[in-house]
């Protein structure tokens, strides 16, 4: 099998990896904010429902969650069955939204009370204080921990193979087992390194951009 043929097959798997990665980010970033608001709610039952949910999602393997989302609805007789890729993406979005929500919560709680009070005495509404005063400071503070999660997400996409979604690792494994070749495994490693390298550069850029002030 030639280098070009391997590249073509891996590129195909990489597209799936990229898709899972991209859609998960787009879905989990806003969903995480909703979960944050829920887990910081002043109404105790709402708060506890969200906290227990986050505990369950963060406390069980993502692999288990993927399997459950894919087989669960059918086995429970709900009459729906997700497409494999859709099941993977749903599980990823929910899982990552929970991790993101905890990062957001930490960020929001780290903003000094004085920032809220300054907004209050200047007659701002609650939403103005959140969006015009607090949010930007939160974003600046959460970029480093979010970066960590996002880089983990790049590699976690390989879990999709557990329900036979052919992403990058699965694509390579197929070649390795059928053609008895070892080098495609290293080649796959290079794909991931390139991917995480680019993500790292983008995150550093964002961090630098936000670093125009201290505090």
């Amino acid at each position: 099998m030639s280098f070009l043929e391997v590249t073509a097959q891996l590129a195909n798997g990489f597209l799936t990896t990229l898709l899972i990665f991209g859609v998960t980010l787009v879905g989990a970033i806003p969903l995480g904010l909703l979960i944050t608001l829920g887990s910081m709610s002043k109404i105790p039952p709402v708060k506890w429902i969200f906290k227990v949910f986050v505990w369950i999602i963060r406390g069980t393997p993502l692999m288990l969650q993927i399997i459950l989302v894919f087989y669960g609805p059918g086995l429970m007789g709900l009459g729906v069955k997700f497409d494999r890729l859709l099941a993977v993406i749903l599980a990823f979005i929910i899982n990552y939204a929970c991790y993101f929500s905890e990062i957001y919560r930490g960020g929001i709680e780290s903003i000094p009370k004085g920032q809220y009070e300054a907004g209050q005495v200047l007659g701002m509404t609650k939403s103005q204080i959140f969006f015009k005063v607090v949010l930007f400071q939160v974003i600046k503070r959460i970029v480093p921990p979010m970066g960590n999660e996002i880089i983990t997400l790049v590699k976690d996409t390989s879990l999709a193979r557990v329900i036979a979604v052919v992403e990058l690792v699965k694509a390579a494994e197929t070649i390795v087992s059928l053609k008895s070749l070892i080098w495609p495994l290293f080649y796959v490693g290079a794909f991931y390194l390139l991917f995480t390298g680019i993500v790292t550069i983008l995150l550093n850029f964002a961090e630098k951009k936000l670093n125009y002030y201290q505090g």
Binding site: Q120, L122, G123, F136
Partner: protein, 264 residues
């Protein structure tokens, strides 16, 4: 009836009763200094007047309008509007770090006059309001001596400069009464002078102000009336000459003696 009338303010946090029936009144253009040891309730009293704390009992009346009555219920929006009668300068400045000095001063007026406007504004109208707000902010910042720092970020300024920005930010909302919560306590000694000078200038311009402070000398020279608070009540009230020169209560005497000891 006085300009500001505060009657029967009580406030407790859990089991601790912090304010035990505060009555005070002041006239327009007066400067009222509130002194007292830490934990005497002076900051809480100031926060009650700015509605950052909700008094458990009492009323606040400003210029004949009853702003607050503890027995009534107010919505967030009502409280927000009442708050605008008072400005507050914090001990720790609380500037918005992501905005320039100019933006720190302009932000709240812009949000109030553009985003909270009840009528729909056209683009040129918005631009004009923005320009007005900015011109006003520039002149206020010039009056506190910061014309050359408009485009700096708070982290690039000294503590004294930051506190002057905070004063300008409060002035931009043109409150009826400007309150200061220990405005120089977080400053190095050599920086307190520039902040006190600004407060003195505001007094000379006729601003009505309430000043919670540990700067006894300044309270004595700048205030028209002085309140000494101890254990949640007003222990002594009078002109600076009366309170500093001839205090009637033993608590006041002891406090003043200790404060002066620290100076010497």
């Amino acid at each position: 009836m006085a300009f500001l009338d505060v009657k029967g303010i009580f406030k407790r946090f859990g089991k601790t009763e912090v304010l035990k029936g505060i009555d005070l009144s002041m006239e327009k253009g007066e400067v009222l200094a509130i002194i007292g040891s830490s934990g005497s309730g002076k900051t809480t009293l100031l926060r009650c007047m700015n509605f950052l704390e909700t008094p458990d009992a009492g009323t606040i009346t400003l210029d004949g309008e009853e702003l607050y009555d503890a027995s009534a219920k107010y919505t967030d929006n009502e409280i927000r509007e009442k708050r605008l009668h008072f400005g507050l300068v914090f001990q720790s400045f609380n500037l918005f770090p992501q905005y320039t000095v100019l933006k720190n001063v302009c932000l709240a007026p812009e949000l109030m006059r553009i985003n909270q406007s009840k009528t729909k504004l056209s683009r040129p109208e918005k631009a004009k309001i923005k320009r007005d707000i900015e011109d006003n902010a520039r002149s206020i910042l010039a009056s506190v001596g910061l014309s050359d720092k408009l485009m700096n970020y708070p982290c690039e300024l000294s503590g004294g400069q930051q506190q002057r920005v905070a004063i300008a930010r409060a002035l931009a909302m043109n409150p009826a009464i400007l309150c200061f919560d220990e405005p120089t306590s977080a400053l190095d000694p050599e920086l307190t002078g520039e902040v006190l000078r600004v407060i003195k200038e505001l007094k000379d311009a006729g601003r009505t102000m309430i000043l919670v402070t540990h700067e006894m000398g300044f309270a004595r020279s700048a205030a028209d009336k002085v309140i000494f608070m101890a254990d949640g009540i007003i222990e002594e009230y009078g002109t600076p000459e009366e309170v500093f020169g001839n205090p009637s209560s033993d608590k006041t005497k002891t406090f003043l003696e200790k404060s002066l000891e620290n100076i010497n």
